[in-house]
């Protein structure tokens, strides 16, 4: 469904992504792991059009989408959540998701019908599926961090994606919130049939839900394989698992 080939991006003199490859098949859950600064978020920004790549290709459903503006890539069926909470903080939880649904239904140029009567059911369904219904009327900026991270996912779901990209969905969550989030990701994969690409520092989570894992080091992808293979791979152990403990400390 998604192929990334030899994609590159540098900021000034720093080569953030230096020839990364990635392959995601339909209905799969793929995790990208790697030490801090390996270029995971940059890779996601390149795929979703937030950043323009310097080289390489991104192909989605057989069509090359390299360098497309973010809104077009979203319309094509790739939607994402952000690592740092990126919501509409002044608006209510309901409105946050509603904007996304309105955009998906191409109603953003509708000037005269009242928003409050539109896409109510769709929005409620999404809030229901992430269990935020009881907080629908709250100003989203006032939610707890964990709820805001879940709202992140809910906003992304509003675009009715085929491929959902989650950038560290559980970062900063408490253990209970994390397990709730794992359930949610599983639920989205099995019940909605969504293809999911995510990156995460929590190895337990990664090995619990990912079908395949891609490992990134210094902007390069060094392997993409089944979890067991990745766990046993020497290169990964050297480059990543050993190193990460030093970095995390």
């Amino acid at each position: 469904m998604l192929q990334v080939e030899e994609i590159k991006k540098s900021f000034g003199g720093f080569q953030a992504v230096d020839g990364a490859n990635l392959d995601v098949k339909k209905s799969e859950i793929v995790a990208v792991i790697g030490p801090n600064g390996a270029g995971k978020t940059t890779l996601f920004n390149l795929i979703t059009g937030i950043l323009k790549p310097d080289g390489g290709r991104v192909v989605f459903k057989g069509e090359e989408i390299t360098g497309w503006p973010a809104y077009r890539i979203c319309k094509k069926g790739v939607s994402r959540s952000f690592q740092v909470v990126n919501i509409f903080p002044r608006l209510a939880v309901f409105e946050n998701v509603q904007i996304s649904v309105l955009s998906q239904q191409r109603k953003t140029y509708d000037l005269l019908s009242p928003s409050k009567t539109l896409v109510i059911q769709e929005t409620q369904n999404i809030l229901e599926s992430v269990r935020l219904t009881d907080k629908a009327r709250h100003v989203s900026g006032s939610l707890s961090h964990g709820d805001q991270k879940v709202l992140e996912i809910a906003i992304a779901l509003g675009s009715k994606p085929e491929l959902l990209i989650l950038d560290e969905p559980t970062a900063g969550m408490s253990p209970e919130e994390t397990s709730r989030c794992i359930d949610l990701i599983r639920h989205l994969s099995t019940d909605f049939g969504l293809t999911i690409l995510f990156c995460e520092h929590d190895m337990e989570l990664v090995f619990a839900i990912a079908h395949r894992i891609m490992v990134m080091v210094h902007g390069r992808s060094i392997i993409q394989a089944l979890p067991e293979e990745v766990r046993c791979n020497r290169e990964v152990q050297d480059a990543y698992l050993g190193e990460s403990e030093v970095q995390d400390a």
Partner: protein, 320 residues
Amino acid sequence: MSVKSETHRKEIWVAAAAFALLLLLPFVLKRFYLYFLGLVFVNGLFAMSLNLVLGYGGIFQFHHAVFYGVGAYGTALMIAKFGQSPWLGFLVGPLLAASVSALMGMICIRLSKLYFGMLQISLGSLVWATVYRWYNFTGGDDGIHGISMPSLIASPKGSYYFIVLMTGACLGVMYLIVKSPFGSVLQGIRDNPVRSEAVGVNVRLQQLLALIIAGFFAGVAGVLFVVLDNSVFPDMLFWTLSLEVLIMCLLGGWFTFLGPVMGAAILIALRTFVSTFTEYWALIQGIILMLVIIFLPEGVLGYLHRKWSQFKGSGLAGEK
């Protein structure tokens, strides 16, 4: 639900009563006060049109007066220079303002925030300079005076009614726009453009459309000024007026729908009555602006709004 529709009904009643009062005023008020009220409505509409992009869109529209002036001049020139029917002129003014807004918007929208505002000031000043210098077409710094109006709205009463009706209609349409999907998405862009783009919104196109709409309604305000005053002059598109209308929005409350109208009313009232006592009106205006920024950052109506919701004890967003 029933509670909500009841408060809604109450709001409609209040609006209807206020409107009826406005329609009755010409029978009791002197001519000067009718002119004064007309000026408040014209500036209120002007400020509201700015707030569409400023408060709701988060766009730094620093030279909004250009579109007000272009609307007014478009109408004035159609009537005085081309000898067309005033009604046609009323239509041409706002459309011309919207076109200029589209053109300037397409150039400026590539820049963000402050840079947008700065480029807009320079382009707008170019429009002003053209109007100011082009003596034999626009009348230069003399402007155009004694523009003839259709007999229906030539009298003070007639022009007052026309202004009240047009302002009311425009406010109604703007209210619908703010509450529409277009308005919701515009507010989303204001709060978080990156996220808006990521959910599939073409941010620049959406903003450009908002600029065109705001330009159109500023043009309508310009037309209404011609109806009120029967004259136009280059100060109508000078940057100081843009600053003044910005102050109206801030003063009244740029996160409330009617705030700008209130700001316009306060500022016009102060200017009208204070400047009979002193010629240092600009000084007083500056002091007011400083006080507002320090003590009422949400503006007068924003402040009252917050006090009212505190009083009702609701912290929920849906209750606005």
